[in-house]
């Protein structure tokens, strides 16, 4: 063992209880960090996974982010041109030349594409009316883009094709209508056209807002009911590599002009929430470690005070100022490291304890889960240990510098 280590250990051994208490402070900080991080990250990754699973990764809509420029604005770019009261031109809404676009997007490797026509409709069953968002889909393509098949609690996606005028509705829609599979409902389009549909399947995504609004029919049928022949207004895209969603969305928007949203953009509010969650987590853990750091500061300061004579003799023997400083920094590092290691055990134990907790979740995106979702990630251990070490070393720095500056002559004079 090196001399510095030997002296440092000697000092800490003499103050076993205090060393143990500050070590425990560090350990609790690290342990809670690991456990809380596992809890939060677990939920966040699960949530993101759900979002990624349920929804398409990229959606191109028949909208534009900013209104089209007027000729005068183009002609006098940057000039003092102001045009007011511009109304959108009467035109057939929808994505133009959708077929060509779908083909172009499909040519990108690792990408699946599905065309969709979304429109409002009213479902009527007996005396009940439920407003739905009617989605015309191509079942063969849709199943590659969204999780629709996995979420079906009754019927199959193919039944849309097999049954004339078949419709798959969200479980909430069915409940509100009081209808179930096999029942015929009337769909009324904004144009007033009424068509009879037979419910062939039910969907439960776990997101109430979706389950109470969704209805799926064949694309061709939707175009007829909504009176928009050959029109689609959404192109849904799924990628093999989710991380490519945002860059692809930007590329497509730049190429085609239509508003194209990645799942990150669509869920920006939730992702922002996660950032706040993480900030809270880091603040809490930072506070625990800060308290632990004060504990370390106190013991090292006391050791420095108590060991003034030892410091004097070490200096008179020929230890340099930085040798003395190193001794106390090593003491801080020992407490930090040992605290981190114990903290790893505490964190691991807490995670396993949390994993034993069983409860029934009320529904929503956590439907079907019976306990906490825990992310067991190596980086939390490394980060927790790193924080602890830095906090411990920082807390030791001031007393260590003080020790290194002690003048042996002053101490020897005072000791006599």
């Amino acid at each position: 063992m090196s001399l510095t280590l030997a002296i440092a250990f000697g000092h800490l051994k003499r103050r076993k209880r205090q060393t143990f208490v500050s070590l425990l402070g560090v350990a609790l900080g690290v342990g809670f960090f690991i456990a809380i991080a596992a809890l939060m990250r677990g939920f966040q990754t699960y949530f993101v996974q759900q979002v990624i699973d349920v929804a398409p990764h990229v959606v191109m809509k028949d909208e534009f982010r900013s209104p089209a420029l007027q000729p005068a604005e183009i002609a006098f770019a940057g000039g003092a041109v102001a045009i007011r009261g511009v109304r959108p031109r009467e035109a057939v809404r929808g994505i133009r030349e959708a077929g060509a676009k779908i083909e172009a997007i499909e040519a990108i490797p690792g990408v699946a594409v599905a065309p969709v026509l979304l429109g409002p409709a009213l479902f009527r069953y007996g005396a009940r009316d439920v407003a739905v968002s009617l989605a015309g889909i191509d079942p063969g393509r849709e199943r590659r883009v969204t999780n629709i098949e996995k979420d079906m609690t009754a019927g199959r996606l193919e039944d849309l094709r097999a049954t004339a005028n078949g419709v798959i509705v969200g479980i909430g829609v069915a409940q509100r209508l009081g209808a179930t599979v096999g029942d015929s409902v009337i769909a009324v389009a904004p144009s007033g056209v009424a068509t009879s549909f037979r419910i062939v399947g039910l969907i439960e995504t776990g997101v109430t807002a979706l389950d109470e609004r969704e209805a799926y029919v064949l694309l061709r049928l939707a175009q007829v009911i909504l009176d928009r022949p050959n029109v689609i207004n959404q192109i849904r895209i799924r990628l093999d590599d989710v991380r490519q969603a945002e860059p692809l969305a930007r590329r497509l928007e730049a190429a085609f002009g239509y508003r194209t949203e990645s799942w990150e953009e669509s869920n920006r509010n939730v992702l922002a929430l996660f950032v706040i969650q993480n900030a809270i987590m880091f603040s809490v853990v930072g506070a625990i470690l800060l308290v632990a750091a004060f504990g370390i500061y106190t013991i090292i300061s006391q050791v420095v005070h108590e060991k003034a004579r030892d410091i004097a003799i070490l200096k008179s023997i020929g230890f340099r100022a930085r040798d003395i400083q190193a001794i106390f920094l090593v003491e801080g590092a020992i407490v930090g490291l040992a605290g981190a290691v114990v903290g790893w055990a505490v964190g691991y134990g807490l995670i396993e304890a949390l994993a034993q907790v069983r409860f029934q979740s009320a529904g929503g995106p956590l439907r079907g889960r019976e306990g906490f979702i825990l992310a067991r990630e190596l980086w939390t251990y490394l980060a927790g240990g790193g924080f602890a070490l830095v906090a411990a070393m920082a807390a030791t720095l001031i007393p260590a510098r003080k020790a290194s500056r002690l003048n042996p002559v002053d101490i020897v004079r005072g000791a006599v």
Binding site: R309, K315, S316, A415
Partner: protein, 228 residues
């Protein structure tokens, strides 16, 4: 012959609103094999002079020479290195590290210097303890030793790196007459053989009489310097 360590016209003043002069214009050279006793009433600057000789303190004026070389321009680290390899200190209080055994305390300077192998260090440390009659105390901690034994361990530690000069500040201040006499016997033996110099600060005239050279300080000045 160059003095191992020498001061030339050194003055040491403690700064403050009313500066205190500890040592006034003292010149002193310690040659090889000399056994010097510095005596004087308390407050006469004996210890302060020793700290200057021992490179623990820097003078306010004058020069401190180590083997003829001015130490004023040497860095603190260089002075620490010089203390480590050339000088050994013994204080009134033993200053043994309480967490270490007697053997480990003696090993401390050798481990810091790192010139000998671990086996050689242990051999030398045991040899020193044996020479000072502490063969059985090697594995004991300071609080298990008597005052006289502790001071002898401290002397062994001061000798660990075979210093050219051993400096002792009231080394017998906390010892009874018998132990004090034994310590002085050790110093006399060290100075007598092998050309090692010993500088001892003491207020005990009887013990000082056994030194080969006696310097008496009064009010920070050399009042008397006599050999024999």
């Amino acid at each position: 012959m160059t003095a191992l360590i020498a001061v030339e016209n050194v003055t040491r003043t403690l700064p403050g609103p009313q500066p205190v002069v500890l040592v006034r214009e003292v010149s002193l050279a310690v040659g090889p094999g000399e056994f010097v006793a510095i005596t004087g009433p308390s407050g006469s600057g004996k210890s302060s002079l020793l700290y200057l000789l021992g490179l623990l303190d820097r003078p306010s004026e004058g020069r401190v020479l180590l083997n003829g070389r001015d130490t004023a321009r040497m860095s603190d680290d260089a002075l620490a290195a010089a203390r480590l390899s050339r000088l050994g200190f013994v204080f009134q209080f033993h200053f043994l590290l309480p967490e270490f055994t007697a053997l480990d305390n003696v090993l401390l300077p050798m481990r810091r210097l790192g010139q000998l192998s671990e086996t050689e260090q242990h051999e030398r440390a045991r040899g020193l303890l044996e020479a000072l009659g502490l063969a059985d105390a090697a594995a004991k901690y300071p609080d298990q030793l008597s005052g006289g034994m502790r001071q002898r361990v401290a002397i062994a530690r001061a000798l660990a790196n075979d210093p050219a000069v051993l400096l002792a500040d009231e080394p017998t201040g906390n010892l009874d007459t018998k132990n004090a006499s034994a310590v002085f016997d050790i110093f006399a033996a060290l100075a007598g053989s092998g050309g090692r110099s010993v500088v001892v600060v003491t207020h005990d005239q009887d013990l000082a009489a056994r030194a080969s050279r006696r310097i008496r300080l009064v009010d920070g000045r050399v009042a008397d310097d006599s050999a024999g």
